[in-house]
C-alpha cells in the first residue's frame, strides 16, 4: 500500500493520539497496581511510582488475612450483579420492545412515563421512606437489586436499537403463526444480541460498582457488597486524617489500613470486571460492524 506523505503524517498523528488515550487509561491502573505492591516506608520516602521499587506483598497479606469478610462481600457482589443484570435486561427489553413498536397504541404515553423518571425523581428522603418503611426492604438482599432494575436510560437505548429491526420481519413471523412471545424470543432477541450485550454490560457495571444502596439500607455485615467494603475503608481513613483536630482525644489511627492495603483491595475489587469487559468486547465490535455493513 502506497500512501502519500500527508496521509502518513495523519496516521502518525492518529497513532500518537490513540497512544495518549491508551496511556491515560492504563497509567492510573498501573499506579494502583504498583502502589499495592509497595511497602509503606517506600511510599513515604519515594512517593508513588509506576514500577514498584522493591515488590512487597504486605498490602495483600493484610487484606487477605481475614478472607471471610472479603469472600462474603465477593459473594454478595457477584450475586447482585448476576441476578440484577439478568433480571434487569429482561425488564429493560420487555419494556423497550413495545415502546419501539409503531403499532402499539399507548407507546407515546408510556414513553413519556419512562422519560419523566429521567428528568425528575423523588429525591433521597422520599425514596428512602418508600424503600425502608413502605416496602420494608432494609437489610434485605433485594434492596441491592430492585432499585436499579428499570433504568430509563437503558430502556431508551434498547428502544432505539429495536426500532432498527424491520417490522416486515415481525409480520413475516406472525404470518408463519408465531405469537408475540415467540416472535420476540426467536426473531427480535437474536437480532438484538449486540445491543442486549451492551446494555447487559452497563447493568453489570452499575451493580458491581454500587455501594450507595448498601450505605443507605444495609446494616448486616453479611450483606455488605465488595464496593461498599472498599468505600468504607477509604472514607474511614479520609475522615480521620481530615478531622483529627476536631475529634476527641485518643482516636487511634494506627489501626487503619494503609495505602498499599487499600490499593490491593482496589485491585481485588476491579479484577473480575476486567475479565467481564473483555468478554463483552467482541459484541461491541460486532455491533458496530453490523451497523456499518447494512448501512
Amino acid at each position: 500500500m502506497v500512501s502519500s506523505p500527508t496521509a502518513r503524517l495523519g496516521r502518525i498523528f492518529i497513532h500518537l493520539f490513540m497512544l495518549l488515550i491508551v496511556s491515560l487509561c492504563i497509567i492510573p491502573l498501573m499506579a494502583v497496581f504498583s502502589t499495592s505492591l509497595t511497602s509503606e516506608s517506600d511510599i513515604a520516602q519515594h512517593g508513588y511510582s509506576l514500577i514498584p521499587l522493591r515488590p512487597d506483598t504486605t498490602g495483600y497479606e493484610l487484606v487477605l488475612k481475614n478472607p471471610q469478610t472479603l469472600l462474603r462481600a465477593y459473594g454478595v457482589s457477584i450475586l447482585t450483579t448476576l441476578v440484577g443484570t439478568l433480571v434487569g435486561i429482561v425488564v429493560g427489553a420487555l419494556c423497550a420492545w413495545p415502546l419501539s413498536r409503531p403499532d402499539y397504541p399507548h407507546r407515546k404515553k408510556l414513553a413519556f412515563f419512562v422519560m419523566f423518571t429521567m428528568l425528575f425523581n423523588g429525591g433521597l428522603i422520599p425514596t428512602y421512606l418508600v424503600t425502608a418503611n413502605l416496602l420494608q426492604l432494609k437489610d434485605n438482599i433485594l434492596v441491592l437489586i430492585l432499585p436499579y432494575l428499570a433504568n430509563a436510560w437503558f430502556i431508551f437505548l434498547l428502544r432505539t436499537f429495536f426500532q432498527t429491526i424491520p417490522m416486515s420481519l415481525v409480520e413475516a413471523a406472525r404470518i408463519d403463526g408465531a405469537d408475540e412471545f415467540l416472535t420476540f424470543r426467536k426473531v427480535v432477541v437474536p437480532l438484538a444480541t449486540p445491543a442486549l450485550a451492551t446494555v447487559a454490560l452497563f447493568y453489570s457495571l452499575q451493580y458491581w460498582n454500587d455501594w450507595y444502596l448498601a450505605l443507605l439500607y444495609i446494616n448486616t455485615e453479611s450483606l455488605v457488597p465488595l464496593q461498599y467494603l472498599l468505600s468504607r475503608m477509604m472514607s474511614n481513613l479520609d475522615f480521620i486524617s481530615q478531622n483529627v483536630s476536631a475529634m476527641p482525644a485518643g482516636v487511634n489511627m494506627s489501626s487503619l489500613p494503609r495505602e498499599s492495603a487499600r490499593m490491593a483491595m482496589c485491585l481485588l475489587a476491579i479484577g473480575p470486571m476486567l475479565f467481564v469487559f473483555g468478554y463483552f468486547q467482541k459484541y461491541f465490535v460486532r455491533g458496530i460492524t453490523l451497523g456499518a455493513v447494512k448501512g
Binding site: A44, L124, S235, N236, L237, S241, S245, A249, N252, L256
Partner: protein
C-alpha cells in the same frame, strides 16, 4: 442431659406456669432498642461481643439492644437520612463534629432529656457538675448525655522518649507548659544535631494549637479569644498569632526542623511516626497517662507527651461525645435506663469497649488489662461508649489516671462561651469556602514552604470567601445566647 439440664427444664416449666398465671414478670419480652454508634467498625469479632453484651443487658434490665455500628466515613451521611426520614431509632451518637448536635436539635431530631435524666439516670446526672450540663443545653434544655472523659483541652506534642532523652534539653512538664513556640528552638536545634539525617525533628499543625494561642474556633476561620470577656468573634487568619506562626514555621523549615516541601503531598503521616522517621508531632490533647496511649502511634516505643497550653474547658470539648435519644423513639424511658447502665455498670462498659476476657484481652490484675496482639475486637473508642472513668487500666497507665483526669477537668479555665453552640447552617456556603481554602493552603503553611505572597493570598481569599459574614453571624448568635441566659 445432666443435673443442670433437668433443673433448667424445671425452671422453664415453672416460668411457663407462672407466666400463664400472670405472675412471672421476668418472662415478659425484653424491650428492643436500636443504638447507632460510630467508630472503626466493623470489627472482626463484633458479633460475639454484641451478643454477650445483649445477654448481660437482658439479665440486668430486660433490655435488648441492636447495635448498628457504622464506620467514620458513613455515619454522618446515614444519620442525616435517618433523621430527615424520621426513622424510629432509640439512641445515637451526636457531637459537634459528627451527626451535628446543634442541627439535630434545631431540626427536632432529638428528645429533650431533662426529666428523663433526673428520673431514670440519677447517678449519671449527679456524676457531672451543673456547669458541664449547661454546655449541652440548647435554649435551656439538655438533648444529649455526655460520655465523661477528659473535658479540658490542652495543646500538646508527643514523640518517642528515646529521642527526647537524646536531645538532652528539658522541656516543661505538666502543670508547666510551653507558653511560646520559640521555647522549643533549643530543643529542636539539639534534636537536629543529634538525630540521624533521615529523621525529621518535628511535624506541626496550626489546627492543633488553638489552646496554645488562647482561642476557641467556632467555625473555619472564625475564633473567640478565651480572655475576651465580651466574647467577640474574630477572623482566625487575620490575627497576629497566625502571622507569627506563619513566619516561625518558615524559619523552622529553613533551619531544617521540618519535612518541608518533600512531604506536602503525603496525606497520611501515621506510618512515618510509627517508623520513627518523624521524631515529634504536635497534635491531640495532653492528658494524664496520655504517653501510654501514644505508644501505639510510635510503634510500641516509650513515648513522652508535653503540654503546650493550660487546660481549657470549651463547649466543644465538653460535648465532644454524647448520646441523644431519637425523637421517634418508642422507648425513651428504657433508652435512658440503658444509658444509665452504660455509665454506671463497669462490667458492661468494659465488655463493649474491650471485648471478652481471655479472647480479646487478658487481665493482669484486678484493674489492669492487656490487649491481645492482633485482637479481633479493639474499637478503641473509650471516649464514646460510656464514661471513661469506668475503664480498665491499660499497661503503663498510672493507677490514679481517672482521678488525675477529673482533677485536670476541674482545674481547667472555662471559656467565656461554655454553653454556647454555634450553628453554622445560615453561613454554610461561606464556611465551606473558608474550609476549602485552608484545605488548599494548610499543608503549605504547616510545612513552612509558603512565601509572603501565599500569606497575602490566604488572607485575601478568606476575605473574599465571606469570613466577615461568618464573624457577623457568630456575633449575632453569641448576643442572642447571652440575652437568653439573663
Amino acid at each position: 442431659m445432666g443435673k443442670h439440664g433437668i433443673l433448667r427444664l424445671f425452671l422453664a416449666v415453672a416460668f411457663l406456669v407462672l407466666g400463664s398465671l400472670g405472675l412471672g414478670a421476668q418472662t415478659s419480652e425484653p424491650v428492643k432498642l436500636t443504638w447507632y454508634i460510630v467508630g472503626s467498625w466493623p470489627q472482626a469479632g463484633q458479633e460475639e461481643v454484641f451478643a454477650k453484651f445483649n445477654t448481660e443487658l437482658i439479665k440486668r434490665a430486660n433490655i435488648q439492644i441492636e447495635i448498628r455500628a457504622l464506620g467514620w466515613g458513613d455515619y454522618d451521611q446515614k444519620m442525616k437520612v435517618l433523621n430527615a426520614s424520621g426513622e424510629a431509632y432509640d439512641i445515637a451518637f451526636t457531637a459537634p463534629w459528627m451527626n451535628n448536635y446543634v442541627q439535630n436539635v434545631s431540626k427536632g431530631a432529638l428528645l429533650p432529656l431533662d426529666d428523663l435524666l433526673k428520673k431514670y439516670a440519677p447517678k449519671t446526672y449527679a456524676s457531672m457538675a451543673a456547669k458541664y450540663w449547661d454546655a449541652a443545653r440548647i435554649d435551656g434544655k439538655i438533648y444529649g448525655v455526655m460520655n465523661q472523659q477528659i473535658f479540658a483541652r490542652t495543646s500538646a506534642m508527643g514523640g518517642r522518649k528515646e529521642f527526647y532523652d537524646l536531645a538532652g534539653v528539658k522541656l516543661p512538664q505538666y502543670p508547666e507548659f510551653i507558653a511560646d513556640l520559640k521555647q522549643l528552638e533549643p530543643f529542636l536545634k539539639a534534636l537536629k544535631a543529634k538525630l540521624p539525617a533521615n529523621v525529621t525533628p518535628l511535624e506541626i499543625q496550626w489546627e492543633s494549637l488553638r489552646e496554645h494561642y488562647g482561642y476557641e474556633q467556632l467555625a473555619p476561620g472564625v475564633i473567640v479569644y478565651f480572655d475576651d470577656k465580651n466574647a467577640k468573634a474574630k477572623s482566625e487568619f487575620d490575627s497576629k498569632e497566625f502571622k507569627a506562626y506563619y513566619d516561625l514555621i518558615r524559619k523552622w523549615n529553613v533551619d531544617g526542623y521540618l519535612h518541608g516541601g518533600e512531604w506536602v503531598s503525603v496525606k497520611d503521616r501515621a506510618p512515618a511516626f510509627k517508623n520513627g522517621e518523624i521524631a515529634f508531632g504536635v497534635g491531640g490533647t495532653y492528658k494524664p497517662g496520655g504517653d501510654v496511649e501514644l505508644e501505639g502511634q510510635y510503634g510500641g516505643m516509650k513515648a513522652v507527651s508535653i503540654p503546650m497550653s493550660a487546660p481549657v474547658a470549651t463547649t466543644s470539648g465538653i460535648v465532644a461525645t454524647m448520646f441523644g435519644i431519637g425523637r421517634n423513639s418508642k422507648h425513651p424511658v428504657e433508652a435512658m435506663q440503658f444509658l444509665e447502665l452504660l455509665n454506671t455498670d463497669k462490667e458492661l462498659y468494659n465488655l463493649i469497649n474491650f471485648g471478652i476476657e481471655g479472647k480479646h484481652y487478658t487481665k493482669v490484675d484486678a484493674n489492669y488489662i492487656e490487649g491481645m496482639k492482633d485482637s479481633s475486637y479493639s474499637p478503641n473508642i473509650l471516649w464514646e461508649l460510656g464514661t471513661t472513668f469506668n475503664a480498665y487500666l491499660q499497661k503503663g497507665q498510672p493507677a490514679d489516671v481517672w482521678t488525675q483526669t477529673k482533677k485536670l477537668n476541674e482545674s481547667a479555665k472555662a471559656s467565656p462561651l461554655v454553653g454556647f453552640n454555634f450553628d453554622g447552617e445560615p453561613v454554610k456556603k461561606e464556611i465551606a469556602q473558608v474550609d476549602a481554602i485552608w484545605q488548599q493552603y494548610g499543608r503549605l503553611v504547616n510545612n513552612g514552604i509558603g512565601s509572603d505572597k501565599e500569606y497575602r493570598e490566604i488572607l485575601d481569599k478568606v476575605k473574599k470567601a465571606g469570613v466577615d459574614k461568618i464573624v457577623a453571624e457568630a456575633d449575632r448568635q453569641i448576643a442572642a445566647w447571652k440575652s437568653s441566659k439573663k
